[in-house]
Symmetry: C2
Subunit: 236 residues, 2 copies
């Protein structure tokens, strides 16, 4: 980042880019905290913590709207080009995904409020493992964003395949559970949505990884096979 | 739209905005077709049509990347301000949602390939009804986008609450089905994902409605209660 920022003649523009970047990191930190609190709330059946997540989501939403306005203002006022423009675009997209990760965290927390799935301890433990894995992905991709490190972002990008496999395995486990005890279906259904939410969070971390790579390498890697990304883009 | 476009002194810039707008409408038309084909494929257990949807999704993805590049190019070259900038931002966000609606259509079509849920005719009929409702929402929001009609967009925005209620009812019906015939769970689970996909498509249509309102009214209405939108923004 610094080599990029230092080239600006206008110190004010530097400061604006630095500010918006810090705001994204603050928003990311809050979303990460929301996800971890949601997982804790489900794991400990902690309704109070779940309510805190619900309230915290308003703050996430407000941060997105405010950073979005900041980005539009920068484009209008500074008319950024090349890598500055790529940075603003990457930021605008990143915060959209962060906001939706926040929504998923809120949905997961809701399970702690409504579900009577406490007795499914085996399932809950496995969901928690998947949750911590996804939370680590979020942590790592925010770290890659902070350092604008394409290599680290690509590691997160690859990690999503593992989350998808965990998702498949958990879904199978949940179905077996339902078949063995059909009366549990309404309770277990809440867990199905949580697992799906976690899988989606993994996808969104992968999206953010793509924006980091887009900023650093100047190439849009969405819809490109991972082997090709590794060879043609990260390898450069 | 025209009153907005006509004010530009540069005829080229007019042409560029008009082009990118037409490309969004073409992308929207394709996504709408993908969704309808996916619903037909599930309804008629038509594997060939489902495969066509899978292939068509590459085209949707390619269109998104290309329109995204067009938007970045316009920002860099024309340095749009005020309503022009809002238009480009609204377009960039709209195509991201359209691309994800395309993904959901592909997921729905996959059910026709993999599922052996043909025998669940009652459920399939209800899912089809919900699907056609969502498809109409997509059609209407694209229409609102084409005419940049905030009023029409707000109608779509309100429609999503109905889709959410259909989603709740269908989920309850599916759970009853599972409880009555636990052996059907793996088959019926595919339908659960389709219903969820449809609900998400409704959410994304609502997002696009918000971008149209943002462009026309210059106000970001995400995270604002519907009554307040009606009174403070559409009512103006």
């Amino acid at each position: 980042m610094d080599h990029n920022i230092s080239k600006h003649i206008s110190g004010n523009f530097n400061q604006e880019l630095e500010n918006v970047r810090n705001h994204v990191l603050a928003m990311g930190g809050l979303v990460e905290q929301q996800l971890n609190s949601a997982l804790d709330a489900v794991n400990d059946s902690n309704a109070e913590l779940a309510k805190k997540v619900e309230i915290g989501d308003y703050k996430v939403n407000a941060m997105e709207v405010s950073i979005d306005e900041e980005c539009t203002r920068i484009i209008a006022k500074r008319q950024p080009a090349a890598s500055d423009l790529r940075l603003v675009v990457a930021i605008a997209k990143t915060i959209a995904d962060l906001e939706r990760i926040g929504d998923e965290a809120r949905r997961i927390a809701k399970v702690a409020l409504e579900s009577t799935a406490k007795d499914q301890q085996g399932l809950l433990g496995n969901i928690d493992n998947m949750g911590r894995h996804v939370s680590q992905m979020l942590h790592d991709v925010l770290d890659a964003f902070a350092r604008m490190d394409a290599e680290a972002a690509f590691q997160v990008h690859k990690e999503d395949a593992k989350v998808d496999r965990e998702y498949e395995a958990l879904t199978r486990q949940i179905m077996t559970y339902m078949m063995e005890d059909p009366r549990s279906i309404p309770k277990v259904m809440d867990l199905v949505w949580s697992v799906r939410s976690l899988e989606r969070i993994g996808d969104r971390c992968q999206n953010i990884a793509e924006y980091v790579i887009y900023f650093v390498k100047g190439k849009d890697i969405r819809h490109i096979a991972q082997d090709d990304i590794e060879r043609d883009i990260i390898g450069n």
